[in-house]
Symmetry: C2
Subunit: 120 residues, 2 copies
């Protein structure tokens, strides 16, 4: 497994992170995601991390960076499925993830994206 | 990673298989999936295998079995994102996957599920 699949649903891209990301997979993901956003004109990105039992500062920063990149390409990022333990760790690590919105699950994330586009 | 996340989108459940499945993860997945179908009253299951570069007869049978289980619970299964090499392997292995419908990607799979429910 050298890349994480990006699923397209309308103008939203869904990324499910299931494996521990090391540098190369992470860079490939950012590369693939930005290319896809541009190609399909995506307006939103959902990153599902419900499979992650823990995170480190690398993943925290990766998500924050990916979100910033998407923003520049005019796509909003919502992180969904964060476990309580992960939220605790992120705060303890001081990885604030500014500009990243979160939702409980994919459905609520989709609703959040739809709402935020109505407001635009 | 001991279980594969199941994402709910309306009354469709989405499973993205990214890692090699060994026995225990596979059984856990079938267990989780059938529980979820029953709990949320799901009408469709999308299994995305776009990340799999190859399959063996174990995975072929797993998908066929999972599809049969869903059927009994009144949910239709669509396998999406199969790579050409995987299709070749499945036929060569003689894993026919009867009753499993396929679609090119998640979007087309969702459309297929929506259509087949209109016909019911």
């Amino acid at each position: 497994m050298d890349r994480i699949p990006i699923l397209r649903m309308g103008d939203v891209l869904l990324v499910t992170i299931q494996v521990d990301l090391h540098d190369q997979v992470a860079m490939q993901l950012q590369n693939d995601l930005t290319t896809q956003i541009q190609r399909v004109g995506a307006k939103g990105v959902l990153i599902d991390i419900s499979a992650l039992e823990m995170v480190d500062s690398f993943i925290g920063r990766l998500i924050a960076d990916t979100s910033s990149m998407s923003k520049v390409l005019d796509a909003e990022t919502v992180v969904v499925g964060m476990r309580p333990a992960v939220a605790i760790t992120l705060v303890e690590l001081g990885v604030a993830m500014p500009g990243v919105r979160t939702a409980l699950n994919v459905e609520k994330g989709m609703a959040l994206l739809a709402r935020s586009r109505l407001e635009d």
